[in-house]
Amino acid sequence: MPEKQPDSELEKEQEAGVEPDEARAESRLLNIGVSPHIRDSSTTAGIMGWVIVALLPITAYGIYMGGVSAAIVVAMSILGAVATEAVIQRLRHEPVTVNDLSAVLTGLLLGLTLPPELPFWMPLLGGIVAIALGKQVFGGLGHNIFNPALVGRAVLFVSYSKYMTTSYLFSPKAPVFASQSIKSINAITTATPLAAQGLVRKDELTVAASRYYGPLLVGNPWGCIGEVSAVLILVGLAILLYKGLVDWRIPVCYVGTVVVLSWILGMDPLFAALAGGLLFGACFMATDYVTNPMTAWGKVIFAVGCGIVTTVLRFYSNLPEGVMFAILLMNGFTPLIDRYVKPVPYGVRAMRRAQAAAEAEQAGEAA
């Protein structure tokens, strides 16, 4: 409906039936428009671009660790996402806005949360699903309820769980596999839930956990492409925070909640923070603008909710990891949070205080 809005004061007046002033139209050299007449330099494409830049180190390292197949996975998911966006926008006779980079970012995020050794069509399908079902069906950029990359991933996860769970070998439940070679992955997959049960015991975990700080921080060959190094994820987060693109509350509250709850439940807290997809999810997935609440307190509730669900799923379900489900679930709760957690407009508190005081006074007089 924006085209219905009068484009300038001039047109607004014409709509209202006022004759345009001749003198005013005298100079076409004077440009008119609504205030403010200066703008911040940020643009949607710029924001998406910087998030992609923040993801580049981890992408490069993930491809280095995962080899050609990892590169194919990332490329295919980006291709699937961008092509789907373009095709759907063309079909809907809308301007194709691939150049705002949001589809590229969705594809990249999806690719980084997939294991490196997938058949090429699987990330392609994930990219298509992410954009078609996760974003365009809701009306495109800004209207999706769920993080599109996670929708794509969740669909792949429930459809091809055998392929997908290989990514979770370094989940918080299965540190024991860290010492195994990557070649034995397929053999181990089916044993994951069983082996995990024994490991949630406190003593074993704390002993086992500290041995894996090193690999988790700088080079973990057993996770998804984007989970290979916690240090590089934090580098990406630092870029986003420095550019003011994400709210610190979400990653901090999310990881903080998981760390505290895991510590209470007897898991090594640092291991809980570093293992699995938590850091990647908290820094890049949960911080997606469109799918988290608008207000600061809303973001805190969102992030703490993600943390609680993640921890519960890690400890009490037979899924190896709960980050994806936790964020998807809280995405669903975002409109609810936004509806009830709103900033109080300026002066309203003062007004309520004054009203309360007046009522108290009246009550006092009546008594």
């Binding site: 001039l10 100079s27 004077l30 205030s35 007449h37 200066i38 209207h143 002066g347 309203v348 003062a350």
Partner: protein, 460 residues
């Protein structure tokens, strides 16, 4: 000020020890944005007097309130400072002839809002007699009622842009006691430096004006709020106010819109004006620095408001600076005084770049509330089209009124006017912070204006 001030007038230390009257430590408010200042070009240059244009078009109504009627007829000769437009209504301020000359016509001329306004067109005499100062009484001896009369007779209005008649502001409702008068010297808009120069060059008059405001509403303290990038102004005002203990100069954080009435009251006193209420509700009166100087001048010399200092600047202006110009001078003429436009097309803004009005005509005249004329080159932003909101929340963080601008936009796009009101469209004072930060180029201010217009229509 000084010699004509009675020392026993209103200085009283005790008031500052009373609870609820302390100046808060907080130096800023929540929200707001930090646009580039662009003030260095003009802030160090002394105010120059602009020459008189051959023809002045003086809008009859330069205030918010009841419209004025012309009290002169075409062909009549007017003297400098003669009343040319007035109204019997209370909420109105008279308009005076800015120069001696002959009234050519009373006609519509494009005004700065992009509409047209009824103006008295005066062909200026080539010989201009100097105005004789006519002090009627010493400013220090004025009663509250006299201050209001002086303000009304001089045609004073808020000179920061709002242009609300000053004598009306000085007449608070009987049940509201005013304890604090705030003079707004923030000048938080980029580019503008006219108040800065006034505070440097006319600090004694400014403090004198503030004390007259305080007398008029029987306030016990006066605060001059100045952004901390103008420490020289803070020093100058402090020096001028050193003899009166009830007047303070406070340095505030540099942030837009620090100079907005409600934000300023919040920062200086910790009080919040309830929605839809006036500052008198919380015992405050806010006046612009320029208005304070003008009031003192009117009281001391009987000079009505027929000229003002205006900042003429911008990348396209050859000789940026602050000029003391007569009201009614066409903007095109004033731009010529400052060296003319270096390139066209340009966006010429009356007021500041955040809240000012883009000019469609070089004919529109200078008015009492216009603090700047800024010529900007066409920025690529003007051409960018509005894109989808990505809910980044920048507008929510920036809104100094704690509204949800993107929700207002949603409601307006659906033409759900009550919903727009629910999200606070009527509480918005159009500072433009939301549009300034928006990465999707959504013109929130335009949406808010259409919501306000639609809600006004439904009320009728």
């Amino acid at each position: 000020m000084g010699e004509d001030e009675e020392p026993e007038s209103i200085s009283d230390e005790r008031h500052f020890e009373e609870p609820g009257l302390s100046i808060r430590r907080t130096r800023t408010f929540k929200g707001g944005v930090h646009p580039g200042r662009n003030k260095a070009e003009t802030s160090s240059k002394a105010v120059l007097r602009a020459p008189l244009p051959p023809v002045l078009s003086v809008p009859l109504t330069q205030h918010i309130g009841a419209p004025n009627e012309a009290v002169v007829t075409p062909g009549e000769h007017v003297e400098l400072g003669q009343v040319i437009g007035d109204s019997g209504a209370f909420i109105a301020a008279p308009v005076h002839a800015p120069a001696a000359g002959t009234v050519e016509a009373v006609a519509d001329v494009p005004d700065f809002r992009g509409k047209s306004a009824l103006c008295v067109v005066i062909a200026v005499d080539s010989e201009q007699p100097g105005r004789e100062a006519s002090p009627r009484e010493r400013p220090g001896g004025l009663t509250a009622e006299r201050v209001r009369v002086v303000a009304r007779e001089a045609g004073l209005v808020g000179m920061g842009g709002a242009a609300f008649p000053t004598h009306v502001k000085l007449t608070p409702p009987a049940d509201k006691a005013i304890d604090t008068v705030i003079v707004n010297g923030c000048e938080c808009e980029p580019y503008l430096t006219c108040d800065h120069r006034l505070m440097l060059e006319r600090a004694p008059e400014l403090v004198g004006g503030l004390r007259l405001f305080m007398r008029a509403v029987d306030a016990r303290r006066g605060i001059i709020g100045i952004e901390a990038d103008k420490m020289d102004a803070v020093e100058s005002v402090r020096a001028a106010a050193s003899s009166c203990a009830e007047v303070h100069a406070a340095a505030l954080d540099v942030k837009f819109p620090q100079g907005s009435e409600k934000q300023l009251i919040h920062v200086l006193t910790g009080r919040d004006v309830p929605p839809g209420k006036l500052p008198s509700e919380v015992g405050c009166l806010v006046q612009n620095a320029g208005t304070a100087v003008a009031l003192y001048e009117a009281a001391a010399t009987g000079k009505p408001l027929y000229e003002r200092v205006v900042t003429i600047t911008g990348p396209l202006v050859a000789r940026p600076g602050n000029y003391l110009a007569r009201l009614g001078s066409p903007l095109g003429f004033l731009l010529g005084v400052a060296g003319g436009l270096a390139a066209e097309p340009a966006r010429v803004i009356a007021g500041g770049p955040m809240t000012g009005w883009a000019q469609g005509s070089a004919q529109s005249p200078l008015v009492k509330g216009m603090s700047g004329i800024i010529a900007l080159p066409l920025l690529p932003e003007y051409e960018r089209e509005e894109r989808a909101c990505v809910r980044c929340g920048k507008c929510v963080d920036a809104c100094p009124m704690f509204l949800l601008p993107n929700f207002i936009v949603d409601a307006v796009q659906e033409e759900e006017w009550p919903k727009a009101q629910m999200w606070g469209a009527l509480d918005c004072f159009e500072c433009g912070c939301c549009s300034y930060t928006c990465p999707a180029f959504i013109p929130h201010v335009r949406y808010v204006r259409s919501a306000k217009a639609a809600l006004a229509r439904t009320r009728e």
